[in-house]
Symmetry: C2
Subunit: 269 residues, 2 copies
Amino acid sequence: MKRTFVNGRAEATIDALDRGLQYGDGLFETIAVAGGRPRFLDWHFERLADGARRLGFPALDLDGLRREIQDAIVEPKAVVKLILTRGNGPRGYRPPRDARPTRIVAAFDWPAFSASAASDGVCVGWCHTRLGRNRSLAGLKHLNRLEQVLARAEWEDGAMDEGLMQDDRGRVIAATQANLFVRMAGQWVTPGLDECGVAGVMRRAFRQWAAERGDAIAERPIAAAELEDATCLILTNALIGAWPVRELAGRTLAVDPIAEEFNAWLARA
Amino acid sequence: MKRTFVNGRAEATIDALDRGLQYGDGLFETIAVAGGRPRFLDWHFERLADGARRLGFPALDLDGLRREIQDAIVEPKAVVKLILTRGNGPRGYRPPRDARPTRIVAAFDWPAFSASAASDGVCVGWCHTRLGRNRSLAGLKHLNRLEQVLARAEWEDGAMDEGLMQDDRGRVIAATQANLFVRMAGQWVTPGLDECGVAGVMRRAFRQWAAERGDAIAERPIAAAELEDATCLILTNALIGAWPVRELAGRTLAVDPIAEEFNAWLARA
């Protein structure tokens, strides 16, 4: 890690009574920094503001957040993680009426992704841990992430690159830290996220880019069993861009050039 | 608040990179202190140890925790909240192999409960916010509590005393911060907690006390609609003991003396 700011001050600690710790009462954004600038920052802020509204946080000072993120950036290529909690409050679930949210901005080194992941594809398997469904929280990048933690604990580094997660009804939703695109019957589709999952910024970018090429990507519920008929899969997140999947639970998939085309566009953008 | 200890030291802050904050990757216990002693501490520790095992934390030093809890107690009547997180780690959901959990022990004043709640009963209504179901997390008192936060935000203090929560299939599970006992057809029953909800220590105490009186209380799925036929409801948690419900969504219920009998036993125990 390079630098951490809490409420705009260079600090590395938060109050032990912060509701972000006590209840996971908060939101986060993982932002790629490229050329010294936060990528898709407006879309990260849109999701954050939507989350703040749905959780009943006070309105955000986005200009202030933008400055704090920029201040944290000292390398041209980096990761900035922004956490916004409801701040401190008395014991108990009830949100305080006069909540004063806590802002945590932390800059990290760019991760050491495998160079071949974007070009040759990655290997994915199925996680046993399921995603519970809750329309009140679906789509948000909130701090209640134990499901992803348990899912990611299911395999050691090297055994596979990512794990796909299903909801409790057996619908595939996403990978532990990426959204999913599936090519079936000659069409790209992506799982609907109205009951669980995170509406990723790169998912949005990929869909918009595809739509501008004339390839509208439908969103719909996808049963896990349907992936047996998938010819290609793509994972997206804010840091990796798009990774093709070359192997799903031992079955070889085609590496569609669309991922590399998207990544090339992303590098130029 | 009276005192806070982090890893045994008198501190009020934790590292901003603690996984308890980053992902809600942790557990907590809310422990009543009566006569200067933590009540049902062994059962709190049983649940905590079960949670630590299910989340893949290292084995707990319960003797050390017991000392830290006792050290935090300066008043004969108080509340001790214990939080156990997976500790710090690099960015990403994957739990670090060498996790060193963070212990936070905070002592609070005993809450100002209404004196009549235990004797005359409380008013409850229905929350709109649902509980997602996940067998991997069911029963645990983990730090992913946004569902309870959103549910508790649905009413102002005074409008009602507690809110009942259903899962996504319309089964009643619990109140936002209490377990539930329902009297129907002359029998006490309590919702099963194998898919969601928290297995409360006072729920266990109430069932065991009832069983010792010859009143075994069955655990089973309870549809929310079944509560229309309920004659009595009781809420339990570690602090309140047992509260009878005198009104459910506008319908008057009988206040069963069993709650007061249990509370009297609890005061003597």
